[in-house]
């Protein structure tokens, strides 16, 4: 009580004193800005750890990835003399000086154990080059001028114009060749961009397959998830919470357990096939291939990604009062019209959010297609993993990943144009 009494006069005096300081009221703004700056600083401090975490673990790696996709210095670093020669002779055929530089670099490579590294870089674009470098490096310090002859004596492949073209490309470190490779393109001996040999074209096909399968998975999750989300939204809270646990169950099961379960269910000798055979729907020879192919990928990923569709849908459906549909019915709409014209449009932000979420997750999915996708259910991410783990061509992996990232960003952009990112409801 006494507090409020003592505050009242103070406020009053502040109000009357204000105009005395300045006529334009600026000090008030300054004071306000200062007060707000303090709370802004506090807010920033609160998010700073997360911001730092995101920058270090997400933003920086993405830039590294982008850098790596256009830069592989393993050749240029190991062959400084060649780099210099290529720089000085932009268009020339390799001459004696070039071979001298090559030998000098090979000698260094042997000393620094970088021959395999440099050779691997060239090997990315010209198969068989790795051993060319490692074996040449072994004997490089015994080579004598004229080097051109000596090298061609050692292996005539050293005269291959394609090899020199590739080395020229690699000498700058920076190159778009990995993006070319990621789009099934390559360069000929003159450096022109051409299509890759047909038996090595795979990435464009897999990009397309990835997007088509992801769209299909998005569609199946929508078809299966929409009625479930609707049911959850209209049931009493207690029942719907219980059902929600069932929906979320896939999240709580380890990926391997889920995948193993799918294998047990779907394989040729699995539960579903055996059931169908015993019921007589299919014959013993007609057992369905539902796993280790695209069907397996779609089924398993639909299951895994279903909650990502249901949750955003549920979050837009729950607050839609039943009176909207009732109003529509009372106004003369059939139940279908009421659903289609009144209920459905209100769920669009949820559908868009769920669809976007499922699609983007599906595009990047890797373990599930690897385990149940067989040959035809492989996605682009499996190839990225292949280049990370098996071929060690990280630059190509980065280029593929960057293209995937770019595609996803385009999707976001389209989403923002069509729906508006601010209307997204994720749950």
């Amino acid at each position: 009580m006494s507090d409020s009494h003592s505050i009242a006069p103070n406020t009053a005096s502040a109000e009357t004193a204000g105009p005395l300081k300045t006529a334009d009221g600026k000090p008030l703004k300054v004071a306000l800005a200062r007060a707000q700056a303090r709370s802004r600083r506090r807010a920033f401090l609160l998010v700073a750890p997360l911001l730092l975490f995101v920058v270090i673990t997400f933003v920086v790696p993405i830039f590294q990835l982008l850098a790596q996709s256009v830069n592989d210095p393993s050749f240029s670093r190991a062959a400084p003399n060649m780099v210099e020669w290529f720089a000085q002779n932009p268009d020339a055929e390799p001459d004696e000086a070039a071979y001298a530089a090559l030998v000098a670099d090979l000698v260094e490579m042997k000393k620094n154990r970088t021959a395999a590294d440099a050779g691997t870089r060239i090997n990315y674009e010209l198969s068989g080059s790795r051993s060319l470098f490692t074996s040449a490096a072994r004997s490089a310090d015994r080579m004598e001028a004229p080097f051109m002859e000596a090298m061609l004596d050692k292996d005539e492949k050293w005269g291959d114009p394609m090899l020199w073209q590739v080395m020229r490309g690699a000498s700058t470190g920076f190159t778009i060749n990995f993006y070319l490779a990621a789009l099934d393109m390559t360069r000929d001996a003159e450096g022109n961009i051409i299509a890759a040999p047909e038996d090595r074209q795979i990435y464009v096909k897999l990009f397309i397959r990835t997007f088509v399968l992801s769209a299909l998975i998005m569609l199946t999750t929508f078809i299966l998830g929409f009625p479930v989300a609707h049911l959850l939204a209209v049931l009493p809270m207690r029942t719907s919470n219980l059902l929600m646990i069932l929906v979320l169950l896939p999240f709580w099961t380890s990926l391997l357990v889920r995948t193993t379960a799918w294998i047990a269910l779907l394989q040729r000798e699995g539960v579903i096939n055996s059931l169908l055979v015993s019921v007589g729907v299919i014959g013993e020879d007609g057992r369905l291939s539902m796993i280790y192919n695209q069907a397996g990928t779609v089924i398993a990923m639909t299951h895994i990604l279903l909650p990502f569709m249901i949750l955003p849908l549920y979050s837009v459906m729950r607050p839609i009062p039943p009176s909207y549909v009732r109003a529509a019915r009372s106004l003369g709409a059939t139940s279908f019209t009421a659903f289609w014209r009144v209920y459905f449009p209100q769920t669009v932000p949820g559908i868009a959010a769920g669809g976007l979420l499922v699609f983007i997750l599906a595009v990047g999915y890797y373990i599930t297609p690897a385990l149940v996708g067989g040959a035809s259910g492989q996605l682009i991410s499996n190839l990225i993993a292949f280049h990370m783990n098996d071929s060690y061509n990280w630059s190509l992996a980065s280029a593929l990943a960057a293209l995937l990232l770019f595609a996803v960003l385009v999707l976001y952009w389209l989403y923002d144009r069509m729906i508006g990112i601010d209307r997204m409801k994720l749950g």
């Binding site: 970088t114 395999a116 198969s127 068989g128 795979i202 096909k205 040729r268 280790y292 783990n389 098996d390």
Partner: protein
């Protein structure tokens, strides 16, 4: 740029560094991992008073590059394939191991002469076992006699049913050529030509529609046991364990086997390199190598271990005939050419992926 990568990877993965008296070995898991724990890790731990941990990976060679670049070692000793050992050594990612400092065999033969010929090719690695990619079939599916040759694997008429193959070019292309009648000695020369590659893929084409592709070594015995495939390529030790260890009706076809070595390596810059070296020297001694053969049918890489190999842990199965190196099994055997794969692997794997997706 590399430095920032190192920094961020280190921050992101903040693993606990192994302490001085602790050693971590990364290997392939399964029955093979068990054999190493029993034959190498336990005796080494007992003799030196240290803790030896075992971690599993689908391919232990995979993390080494990132590990060395990040300077963050989650394991000290790695069991990897010969081709990976050569490649990683070439790239300077492994410690050099002085082979002459390895202990002599029990029969007094110096280490340099004791290891199987052609296995001491990398100065960064010490061979440990000889293993082999073979194919095996389910005997219950072929009551009138099963396949016996590499060619039979591709004969869908005589031996109908799904096949299991590893999802990759390696070993499959060689098997395809051998099945097509190419002698083992000529396989890699032929595969170095475009015609040879085309011929191998053409052979694979004949069964492409009936193949279940596997990736992890544990899958083939499972696929056979589930009845998903009637025959599958596999690592011989896995099949041995399922057949002899678990009594599964699996039979190995040795014709067209592709032998390879597994090697112990130590990533460069590892702070525990001294202890790791000690471990490698101990584990690749005559007796431990012979001991591991008690648990799984991978041949010891030392000749002096041969006579020491005894019975399987069940106490009645003679291990000798189950080794890839047994005379009866070497009739038509190929030794994997690591150099060939180091050179052509990228291209062939790419072609394989394209072929698979086509």
């Amino acid at each position: 740029m590399k430095k920032t990568l190192i920094l961020t990877t280190a921050l992101a993965s903040m693993g606990l560094a192994a302490s001085a008296q602790e050693l971590t070995v990364m290997s392939w898991g399964g029955a093979y991992g068990v054999s190493q724990v029993e034959a190498y890790n336990k005796p080494f731990a007992a003799a030196n008073g240290v803790t030896v941990n075992m971690v599993d990976a689908d391919n232990p060679a995979t993390p080494i590059k990132a590990m060395v670049e990040a300077g963050d070692y989650s394991a000290d000793v790695f069991d990897i394939e010969l081709s990976d050992a050569v490649r990683l050594c070439d790239e300077g990612l492994l410690e050099v191991i002085d082979h002459s400092a390895l202990p002599d065999g029990v029969d007094g033969v110096p280490a340099l002469d004791d290891f199987v010929a052609g296995s001491l090719v990398s100065e960064c690695a010490v061979p440990n076992i000889v293993w082999s990619t073979v194919y095996a079939y389910d005997t219950t599916k072929f009551p009138n006699g099963g396949p016996t040759t590499a060619a039979d694997f591709f004969d869908l008429d005589a031996f109908p049913g799904q096949r299991g193959l590893r999802k990759g070019a390696k070993a499959n292309l060689e098997l395809a050529l051998m099945a097509d009648g190419v002698p083992a000695a000529e396989v890699y020369d032929l595969l170095a030509t475009d015609e040879g590659v085309a011929r191998a893929f053409a052979k694979l084409d004949t069964i492409k529609g009936s193949v279940v592709w596997w990736e992890a070594g544990a899958q083939p015995p499972q696929l056979l046991a589930d009845g998903e495939v009637v025959m599958s390529t596999a690592y011989n030790g896995r099949i041995f364990n399922a057949a002899v260890g678990e009594g599964k009706p699996f039979q190995i076809v040795w014709d067209g086997q592709i032998m390879d070595f597994d090697m112990f390596v130590i990533p460069r810059g590892n702070p525990d390199v001294a202890l790791a070296m000690e471990y490698v020297a101990f584990a690749t001694g005559s007796q431990p190598l012979a001991d591991q053969a008690m648990y799984i049918s991978y041949g010891p890489a030392r000749l002096s271990s041969g006579p020491l190999v005894g019975l399987y842990q069940d106490g009645k199965t003679e291990m000798g005939p189950h080794m890839p190196t047994a005379a009866d099994n070497l009739g038509n055997a190929l030794v994997n050419d690591f150099e060939f794969w180091a050179d052509r692997g990228t291209e062939l794997e790419e072609m394989f992926n394209a072929w698979l997706a086509g």
